[in-house]
Symmetry: C2
Subunit: 132 residues, 2 copies
Amino acid sequence: MSGKRYSRQRELIYQALLHTREHPTAEMLYQWLKAEHPNLSLGTVYRNLNLLSSEGLITRMAFPVERYDADTRPHSHFRCDCCGAVYDMDLPYFQALDEQAAGASPHQVEGHELIFHGRCARCAAEDLGKTS
Amino acid sequence: MSGKRYSRQRELIYQALLHTREHPTAEMLYQWLKAEHPNLSLGTVYRNLNLLSSEGLITRMAFPVERYDADTRPHSHFRCDCCGAVYDMDLPYFQALDEQAAGASPHQVEGHELIFHGRCARCAAEDLGKTS
DNA sequence: ATAGGTGCAAAGTCTTTGCGCTTAA
DNA sequence: TTAAGCGCAAAGACTTTGCACCTAT
């Protein structure tokens, strides 16, 4: 699986994630696996999920904490991977995406959230400062 | 501001949110406002943010908890507003969005997350069951 | 007057972490 | 052998909530 030492628990967690389509939470994985492996600990699940995602084998989906915006018109955002700041993006709302999504799924699509990420202008400038 | 009784604190919180572009967290708002209003409580900030967002005056941005996905190829998701389930969407990754975003902002855009929301097929079916 | 709102603090939920034991290499 | 990894439980971070007091209506 990677450069780290093998661990049965990590393998279990990764396999469980590979074989589900439910995008489970850490708690869900823990409950599933605990049935077969009663002495598995929740801490181990979290540790391995963090490890796997830092290696790029799995993906985490979420913001760390809630953020609020008084501009309720649908618009997209940019979140800096480096400092965590959130900026508005000056882009239109792409209604066409909702229509395409509605056509491609059995669900009632009511809208979408579009969050870009990368390195914000400020963090990029700081990095230049360090290297020069 | 709305159908509820007026409250100075709610007004403060809403005004603070209207006049910033920082997409603050509850804690950030609390710290800002506490400087001028030392007896403001964090609980009140949370209560009013929830109230304002339930009225549609502000927007919350986040998932309630982290979710994990073993499919690391960039792809979009659908989250049910009703039951919270998360599904994969059968749509391509829209690279053009990243290019457009890069052109419209000073940031280094490295990718995006696209999350549709609405009512999933299962919840929609259950609702039909109730009404019939 | 009175019901909705507040401040405070306790409780709850989700996640991380320290420590001593276990186990892959 | 030995250090990465585990289980357990405590601690941390973030959010909600119960209760007595306050205040807009």
